[in-house]
């Protein structure tokens, strides 16, 4: 309940404040959002499996975001930022899909 309220509060705050993304962070924010989404779906799946631990969730959340951003940053430094960010998005997308499939099996038994 609180988690759902937190998500709503974040969206509302974002809509109210309409912050500008700092130009330096602009390439990394989409990757970070996708990585966070991956962590959220992973957490939801773990919760449905009965093995959810909030400490693990917090750590995986931040490590996902930081590692994704770091990979893209490194790619930018190496001159392959575009390709690496595509690769990260693909990997995270696959994980999100498999997590969502597990969640679906739990909720709908299908």
């Amino acid at each position: 309940m609180i988690a759902a309220l937190g998500l709503l509060a974040g969206i509302v705050l974002g809509l109210i404040f309409q912050p500008d993304v700092p130009p330096g962070l602009e390439p990394y924010l989409p990757i970070a959002v996708v990585a966070a989404l991956d962590a959220v779906f992973g957490g939801l799946r773990a919760y449905l499996d009965g093995i959810f631990d909030d400490k693990v969730f917090v750590v995986s959340f931040f490590s996902n975001v930081v590692i994704a951003a770091a990979i893209v940053y490194m790619g930018d430094k190496l001159g392959v930022g575009g390709q690496l960010s595509t690769g990260v998005i693909v990997v995270l997308g696959i994980r999100i899909f498999s997590n969502v499939a597990a969640i679906r099996r739990h909720l709908f038994h299908a």
Binding site: M1, I2, A3, A4, L5, G6, L7, L8, A9, G10, I11, L13, G14, L15, Q18, P19, D20, V21, P23, E26, P27, L29, P30, A32, V33, A36, L37, A39, V40, G43, Y47, L48, D49, G50, F52, D54, F57, V58, F61, D76, G79, V80, G81, G82, R105, H106, L107, H109
Partner: protein, 247 residues
Amino acid sequence: MPDQQGTTGRQRLRAAMSRPSRGQAVVGVLLAVVGFAAVTQVRSTEVDDTYAGYREQDLIDVINGLAGTTQRAQAEIARLEATRRDLQSSTDARQAALAQEKSRSDTLGILAGLVPVTGPGIRITIKEVDAPVDIDSMLDTIQELRAAGAESMQINGKVRIIAQSAFEQGPGGVGIVVDGTLLSAPYVIDVIGEPHTLTGGMTFLQGPKSQFEQDGQTVEITELSSLDIESVREPVQPQYAQPDPGQ
């Protein structure tokens, strides 16, 4: 999928909705961060249509894409211009051919007597005073006028003289039949050509004029700066002669 405690994931989710805990608060904060970041990113993607946030490589790709597009567009322009040149030159060639054919057809029409013509020339009036006109004298006259450069001729305003024209003595020696038309004196020959040359062709020593006068006719020659020949011929389709494409 029941687990050891006999509860399903669905039941646990329902329970979590009703019983908040400390862990949920942490998750809620993180989800708020995600929602905030996602909304921010969506907004900046919608608003930002400049190239400010692009990587160097992205900008290079954009430039390369634009260069490729430019090249394709220029190739297209060159191709279309070449097509336009081709079309123009073929139009010019066609117009030139058309003009050539037009002048050919005019020339042939005048030669064949198909069209009325106008131009400078002379009018010859032959009156029978003592004797009827001899057909040989008339033929000589026509030949001399042709030799003097006559371009178009008609007799008595009725018969156009062309390459196929034939002369016969009229029935009973009266009048002259030209191409089936009986003509009678006085004979008026309209000739288009250079007037002085034509007059010279008639009046030289022992020429047609003196021939007529010896035979007993009077000849009057008028030089005209403009003369209309209005009698025409119907075109005749040759029955035996065919153009030879081998030549």
